[in-house]
Symmetry: C2
DNA sequence: ATTTATCAAGACGTAGTGTCTCGATCCCGT
DNA sequence: ACGGGATCGAGACACTACGTCTTGATAAAT
């Protein structure tokens, strides 16, 4: 007897998939990456093991999908924040602040380095690159406007921003996150 | 027939342990974190499975030990670099540069975020904290000398440095690493 | 109402685990 | 050189998880 039926087959599939992703992330957070099995995931999700295998071939595939969804969500949010700001420097600052808030909320839960730990999957790396590209393009705009240093390539500055703001996950408060953004922006300032 | 005997029992134990750590890290790099088993590790190391279980209870314990050794090695190196420099700003710059070089060499191979991915082990986190404390103390010295901004706590600035310089693992060249260090240091500069 | 899709329990063979035994080998201390 | 102690690996054993398959039940789609 299926336990997760509600509307159409399509929404049902989406709901099951989402439940699998959410349950897996929770199990990994609770028990660690190496101590989660397909049997546990099926049981905690409330579906059969055979059903789980119809959605994903293994734990690694589930984690990749979970990560890709989170990155896509973050990307959409950052683009939204970018589009609501005006002026190169303001847009950059708004996006970096939003990124830091995201990092702060995730508390470093394998958000950024999953690619390295799941055998360097190109798809996962690609999703992260999209976020970096948004930031790189904003840096290029701000550099062209003379509001960001132009002696370092925007791609390198984007890597700096993404990693520096990942520290937000280790900070205790929103105020500390704002200071981190200010310090990061200070590193981008044009040289006098 | 034991395959790794040479000198004393103590050196033998150390050699076996080191071989296990090195083989495990290589297997993880090759096959990914979730696809490495105790049976594979024993086989590739050239020891029996029962022997492997005498050294470590599971894969996670091996990875923790591997990580702790690398952190200890990095820490010793950073302290050495620190002690060879003179003056607060010079010592800070020297240590940050050395840290960036280490990050560059590791190419992000689960060096920094293993703690988050292996179920938040306090021991692993503690080892990383020692590195951060060295940098934090250098920041405090430099701030007291007026060479680093004092409006942000040294612990927060240390988190910023460690994460920003972790970007070195994604950079293609030593020159890019040097630019990253310069950008990171720019973020630390006292406000005019 | 019929067709199509999804489902879960159970079975099956496989792989890996974790522990134990035992004979072989080597280091250590005298 | 010898006896004692330590380590070793192969194999056995019972267990867990896997990955696939079958089958009858349930639900959506037409």
């Amino acid at each position: 007897m299926p336990k997760l039926w509600n509307e159409t087959i399509e929404t049902h599939r989406r709901d099951v998939r989402h439940a699998i992703l959410a349950t897996t992330a929770a199990l990994v957070a609770e028990r660690g990456l190496l101590n989660v099995t397909m049997s546990q995931i099926a049981e905690q999700t409330g579906i059969g093991r055979a059903t789980l295998y119809k959605y994903f071939p293994d734990v690694e595939a589930i984690l990749r999908a979970w990560h890709a969804e989170r990155i896509a969500h973050h990307l959409a949010h950052l683009i939204d924040v970018r589009d609501q700001a005006v002026g190169p420097a303001q847009r950059l600052e708004a996006v970096l602040e939003a990124f830091a808030v995201i990092s702060h909320g995730s508390h470093g839960h394998f958000d950024t380095d999953l690619v390295a730990l799941l055998h360097r999957d190109e798809q996962v790396g690609h999703a992260q690159e999209q976020v970096r590209h948004v930031i790189r393009d904003l840096l290029a705009e701000a550099a062209a406007a003379g509001e960001v240093r132009a002696d370092v390539a925007p791609a390198e500055l984007a890597a700096y921003c993404v990693h520096a703001l990942a520290a937000a996950g280790t900070l205790p408060s929103k105020a500390a996150v704002r200071r981190l953004v200010a310090v990061t922006l200070a590193g981008l300032r044009p040289i006098a």
